[in-house]
Amino acid sequence: MIPLRDIAFARSGDKGNSANVAVFARTPAAYVWLRENLTAARVEEYFRPLGVGVVTRYDVPNLAALNFILPHVLAGGGSRSLRIDAQGKTLGMALLEMPIEASVAALPK
């Protein structure tokens, strides 16, 4: 397995008690792989330990990006959450740690 960060970069931010994580492919081939394999269900399963609700994925092909909406993932969000990361600042980095199939490393650069 390799980490997702080998083929993508990301950015997360908060909106109330929800967060979004945008994932950007580093190459066109990586974007094809991401669209097929980084499904909303897979991301939802990954973030389940944080209590995430039903994840929605929006495709943004002109930016070679996928935008994931993670509801209820911040244990109250902003002012209320007791967590060290109340605003989802770390969620992008966390998603980039996701292990993916090592064969992805052989995609064209």
Partner: protein, 452 residues
Amino acid sequence: MHRPLKVANACAFWGDQPEAAARLVAAEPTLDFLTLDYLAEVSLSIMAIQRAKDPTAGYARDFVDVLRSLVPFYQAGGETRIVTNAGGLAPAVCATACREILRAAKLSHLKIAVVTGDDVLSALKETSAAFANLETAAPRSSISDRLVTASAYLGAGPIADALRAGADIVITGRVADPSLTVGPCLAHFGWQTADFDRIAGATVAGHLIECGTQVCGGFSTDWLDLPLPQDIGFPIAEISVDGSCVITKPAFTGGAVTVPTVKEQLLYEIGDPGNYLSPDATVSFLTLQVEATGENRVRISGATGRAPPPSYKVSATYRDGFKAHGQLTIFGNDAVKKARHAGVALLTRLRDAGCVYRETLVECLGTGASVRGIASRVSDTHLVETVLRVSVAADTKDPVERFTKEIAPVVTAGPQGVTGYATGRPKVLPIFGYWPCLIDREQVKPVWRFIA
């Protein structure tokens, strides 16, 4: 043919770098506008607390210091105009403080305008409409007696009107963040309010610069590769009459404006990229083209817009109890086990003393606690050190206050190797619930006026 409008951001949040504005105008004296954003989701509730103690408070006082730092620039004939939401709950009070700075500096020819009408607290409290929470669908009646602030996100219209009338400094309360940039564009280019594609482009430009250094490489995935990280530049949007823009930064600053840094910021805090809702237009990001046109220059074009939603978004806040966080560092064999044990012991001790909490949390930083249960690389037993962070929340202040006094005694009653206690007792923090909802446009009356 209109020349491009140069709009910079000099403040991304209440507490951002105080010297950014003065440095921007020193590096780029021909900037048309500085925009400064001070208001996050619950900033206004903090201002409400400050105002309850001091009637001359209720706005971002930092901005008055920023204006003071710009006095030499204006005395030397600088013409950069300013649009900021530093007014918070009290734009006129903020403007009066600014007026005094300008008067003392013999700059009274600079005209200050304020935009108000965003405060809809009385509408939320007094009308029978439900104002249901956009996240939870709960009706407003469940929090009516605890409401602290309710502000509608106004659009660019009143900002543009004030600028057309000759304002040099426009101070607002709550407006949509990109509207701080769209207002100057409306005034400069003479767009109509139905020029939705061009307004969409300016909205994208405003969205890109509203978080300051973030579009110039701050907070980016590849941050380690940036040049001069000690001095990341603040962003400048050069907006063209067609609504496209080039994002850049002053010469000789650190960071980088690249296609990846721009893409990351484009989708920062975004929901459906095909329907970005602002009070000025509903914007699609799905038609955008992003291309590098030079070193630290990225062009964004192709935005498409439609009419904005029929309602304004309202950000309301309400009192929701108190919380505190306490931290100690634990070093030694079994550090994580000891830290967890000490945290649980502390909370048990407090409960035995009669303290009632609605929520508590024990975290061991260094173990991957930011996203507990995900992406941890090593087992806890490999760590020789951790930061114990204990948090409590309660409906009343007393049990939280008691908690803050019980942290330091863990140093003598806990395991050997506890340190990091020198910063004193933690603070009791008020919790403000966030209540996003919608209000009909007819119930909101945005207005602007000069402050003489």
